[in-house]
């Protein structure tokens, strides 16, 4: 019953993400206006046929800015997940496979990292490295690995005691070979499912940082930046904030539908 219900969610999720990727690639063909050109004769235009989502205080077309913004927000989702994914899995596998003092040291370090509120630690690191996307990726890599490390470690702890691993050890295979060729393909599934949920978090976090002024800097068209710019004018121009936010919701929805669908197909409990 559950599978029948959730498989459409995977298809819907993939379609939404595919759509966003197409929009990001072909942004310059889809967007009717240049996202950064000021048009001071057409400021604060209500949504109309010429400007689908209206214009902002400089007369820039909101629709075109959202289209171009998809490039940055998609990039955030991808890089913000990949680095923690790799580092976390590496640490989780080493910790789980070797055990002993390596394991307890790494796990204590993990406990300490987790006792900081995730978002607060990320902005603390970003504040030291200076605002920008590069700092955001570094901060995420430093903090975000913990979830992946915990997931993969618990998998490795089970798998390393299975017969086929003992067989591989008897054959004299190196630890590195056993870890990456024999354990990894079986231990990576929960991390892959989690990476989709993580992408949702990263998109929300990245746009929130840009909203606070610590992420992508204006005048770059990024959704969080657009919401921050629009907040000053909410009494008169509701459309400036509303549409970039809907874009974030739609991108996040794509990822969380994929997460739901993958979890049910691969039988992973979150």
């Amino acid at each position: 019953m559950k599978n029948i219900n959730l498989k459409p969610s995977l298809i819907a999720g993939f379609l939404i993400l595919f759509l966003w990727i197409l929009i990001a690639i072909f942004a310059n063909f889809i967007a009717p206006y240049d996202p950064n050109v000021h048009d001071l004769e057409n400021t604060f235009q209500h949504p109309n046929l010429k400007h689908l989502f209206g214009t902002d205080n400089y007369g820039r077309d909101i629709f075109s800015r959202i289209i171009y913004g998809s490039r940055i927000d998609l990039q955030m989702a991808i890089f913000g997940v990949i680095f923690p994914f790799i580092i976390g899995n590496l640490i989780g596998h080493i910790s789980g496979y070797f055990g002993g003092i390596v394991d307890s040291l790494l796990m204590r370090f993990l406990d300490i990292t987790m006792s900081f509120p995730f978002f607060v630690l990320v902005i603390a690191i970003v504040s030291i490295l200076g605002p920008g996307l590069k700092s955001f990726y570094i901060a995420l890599a430093l903090v975000g690995w913990v979830s992946y490390a915990r997931l993969s470690r618990s998998q490795v702890l089970v798998i390393k005691n299975l017969d086929y691993i003992s067989a591989a050890k008897t054959l004299g295979y190196s630890n590195v070979r056993i870890m990456f060729v024999h354990i990894l393909p079986n231990s990576i599934t929960p991390s892959v499912v989690f990476s989709m949920t993580d992408a949702v978090l990263v998109v929300l976090l990245g746009s929130a940082l840009s909203y606070l002024g610590l992420g992508v800097q204006p005048p770059t068209a990024e959704w969080g930046v657009m919401i921050a710019e629009g907040q000053i004018f909410i009494t008169s121009s509701w459309w400036m904030c509303t549409f970039p936010g809907l874009a974030i919701v739609l991108l996040a929805l794509g990822f969380s539908l994929c997460a739901d669908g993958l979890a049910s197909i691969l039988n992973v409990r979150e």
């Binding site: 406990d111 900081f116 995730f118 607060v120 929300l204 919401i227 907040q231 904030c241 974030i248």
Partner: protein
Amino acid sequence: MERFKFILLRPLQMIPVLFGVSVISFFLVKSIPGDPVRIMLGSRATAEVIEAVRAQYGLDQPIFIQYFYFLYNFIQGDFGKSIIFKMPVIELVYERIEPTIFLLIYSLIISILFALILSIVAARNQNKIIDQIIRIFCTIGVGVPAFWLGIMYMIFFCITLKLFPVSGYGENFIEHLYHLFLPSLTIATALCPVLTRNLRSALIYEMSSDYVNAAKSKGLNENYIFKNHILKNSLVPTINLLGVNFAWLIGGTVVIETVFSIPGLGSLMVSSIFARDYLVVQCVTIFFAILIILTNFIVDIITALIDPRIKFE
């Protein structure tokens, strides 16, 4: 017996974590590019003053010794002076604690209320239309940025309906409740989908367990079983869930305080980042970390008090 041992020994587990928090916070500020004393004193300070302050904070010593200076001050509650407000950081933080704690508890109450209602409705009507609707709400809800939602509420409740103030904290308790309603509602709506999802599956798990079947075969009323057995047994997972999501909640308040200009720790942290007032940033970060450590501690103790099966590892 086991659980008394747990309650007695559990505080000891906090010590290494607190130690780790102090190390990380120390290196966080150490890794700031530039000379911290020069940043702290501004560009007009004379060489003698700089040297004096450097000696006062032990910054002329090797890094190990510096850490112990930091730890010594940390234990005494001395986190240095703010360069912007010209007062001890700890006092500055102390002034801002109340709105943040108020906001945290307020939004916690609202979100538990929502999540309980939604998850009970969903679990009791499993796979029916109402359950599907709640599931769709949750799937969309996880991806809604809280700061945007706050602005949307502002447009609707403050500008269109003129029901609530756009910002501020108010003077007394009633005004706090009134001013912080929208911010709390924002955080609650953003947290609710996660709570509802997990609570729903906890309830469904309890509903399919053996003791429920036994109660049913005794001929007990379904409503009675749900109220007296299933809900009670879902209490422990709920409390644990709140513990896990508390870190998220704190992150939420940092942004929401900025959206609604509430004079709390989160907005202090954000404004201090722009002012390069690093010692304030450090102190707020440490405060939040201690808050999380304490919450996890309390959650563990409550769980141990409710559930006699918990053992100390």
